[in-house]
Symmetry: C2
């Protein structure tokens, strides 16, 4: 098969690789229905995370089970499945507590930007749909695999509840789906921080009630103005830079909640500054597995349409263009079809 490899900054190649095979009895082989490029793929693509050797790419996936190892009990060939970007056993104490991305046996998923992939720890990682869904559902089910699951975790970590005032820093796919998540959780007011017309439009479609275009201290001031000087109850931080993190913390009311899911890059928190803000802080790599059954259900029942974040669809062979379009912010998120 041909699959996606990153050789170095902005050097994505679609090239011949060996077909994946069952290695452990808990593995499965999946024929990918759709995969995509993640915002976090852009960190190594831009050279911010160094690439030391050619690296297979992709960790968002859904598709049809082709083969399962001898120990697999919960899925079988022919089923349509969705998994998270970390394989997990879903039985260890951390999984039982709902933190499958801290599983004692976790394995990071890679090589999903391919027609076929191997998934480890299948029984703890994959969730099958009741039937093979129609093609219309594929983009939204693929979104569940990472970006929706991550936006949902941001909203959960930020303690979004009915009637609350919420803000979202970051207008990438995760931030936009954080808005959708906050709306589903009953937020009354959702302030999207965005300065891009197309993203503002999608933010409103997903449930944003206000748009703030200012950033940094000006963004904080604007949020304070919109909330009678109080700050928001819940803040979703979906970027991961020093500026975005401080903007999130200082826009939140004392006793409010900051859920942060943007993988931090070079962010240092001054603990004394944090101390006097009185905010709750929680986040990390989203334990998407915790939310998969619920989110799949919401998609299949037509309650949400998170696949709207894919504004570019390409054949998998054009994956390099998919990265370029996101890097240059011509696309919010690129869906790839094998």
């Amino acid at each position: 098969m041909k699959a996606t490899m990153l050789y170095g900054p902005r050097d994505v190649r679609f090239e011949e690789r060996e077909d994946p095979k069952i290695i452990q009895p808990t593995d499965a082989i999946i024929r990918i229905s759709a995969t995509c490029v993640c915002g976090s793929d852009l960190w190594p693509y831009r050279g911010i995370n160094p690439i030391t050797q050619p690296t297979p790419m992709g960790h968002e996936y859904c598709g049809i089970v082709e083969e399962v190892g001898s120990a697999v009990k919960t899925v079988k060939p022919g089923q349509f499945v969705i998994g998270s970007f970390f394989a997990s056993d879903n039985t260890c104490p951390h999984c039982q507590a709902g933190y499958q991305t801290s599983c004692q046996h976790k394995e990071f998923i890679s090589a999903a930007q391919a027609p076929i992939m191997r998934v480890p720890l299948v029984d703890g990682t994959l969730v099958a749909t009741p039937d093979v869904p129609s093609g219309d559902f594929i983009p939204s089910l693929l979104a569940v695999s990472d970006v929706l699951g991550t936006g949902w975790f941001a909203a959960a970590a930020a303690n979004v509840k009915p009637g609350k005032t919420v803000a979202v820093v970051g207008d990438g796919a995760v931030g936009l789906l954080g808005i959708l998540s906050a709306k589903q959780m009953g937020a009354e007011r959702i302030i999207a921080m965005s300065r891009h017309a197309s993203r503002q439009k999608l933010a409103r479609e997903f449930g944003a009630t206000d748009i703030v275009t200012e950033r940094g201290n000006e963004g904080v001031e604007r949020i304070k103005e919109l909330t009678k000087g109080i700050g928001v109850d819940s803040m979703l931080e979906c970027v991961g830079t020093q500026q975005s993190m401080m903007q999130a913390i200082h826009s939140t009311r004392p006793g409010g909640y900051v859920g942060y899911v943007g993988v931090p890059h070079g962010v240092e928190l001054n603990d004394e500054e944090l101390f006097f803000t009185h905010v709750h802080l929680h986040g990390g790599p989203a334990p998407v597995r915790r939310f998969l059954p619920k989110l799949i259900d919401l998609v299949l029942n037509g309650k949400i349409n998170p696949g709207r974040v894919f504004d570019l669809t390409l054949p998998l062979a054009q994956v390099a263009e998919g990265y370029r379009a996101m890097d240059e912010r011509r696309a919010i998120k690129t869906l790839l079809r094998p």
Copy 2:
């Protein structure tokens, strides 16, 4: 009257000062029954927080109301009252949310190491007991004013619940009363991190089930050993140094809670490191006012005896020796009687 002033590092003076008077109609004048030296007073005493001018000291107090301003409604002369180290209106949105130490009109209390003091915003700050309590209760009621309220907030911020495994970093008065608080909240196992025999003894008396003497990474390893490699559910950080904070974060299970109340001094959190720990972080200056009614009730009903942390009692005139004893760790906490 004579009262306590800090002139510079280790330069505490008990000297003539003007008697405090009602300034605002919301003020009261209190005749102090007992006051004390706070662990946080040692920061300026040691010169770590610089002193730029002679500063009146003390923010923990209980006593008898002598006089109230014309707008005061909830207390009257002759009543015994307890307040927190921040005056608050207890009506603004932050107070209503339970964060009175972030009150929009907060004023830091000072000059409580004196026979008489002025308290502002009385209706939002002071709580009166049903009757004037007997002298036996004074140390415990004084402890409610700050150290117990702060230890209680650490436990609340760390989400201590019945059956949970808790650890406490810091064996000062706040840490010790964090143990008492966790016990009251139903914790099943309470690990005290302490290497001082007399403090270990009090920790056990307050409810500690295990003692860990190691610090830093070794302390983290020891906690992991005691919890089957998982980490604790709830961690109370009651020191405020880089080492204590990292010890707290890394001893906590993914999805667990760190409540931090040690005023941070030079602590920088690497956000990426924090991200992958999956802990909840919450803390700040304890909103003691939120807990006053409940804690006063526990004391007066004989359920708790937090006054046990005072292991040195001196006449107020010997306040300088009270500071020295705590600085040299000869005393856990010094009670001062005018």
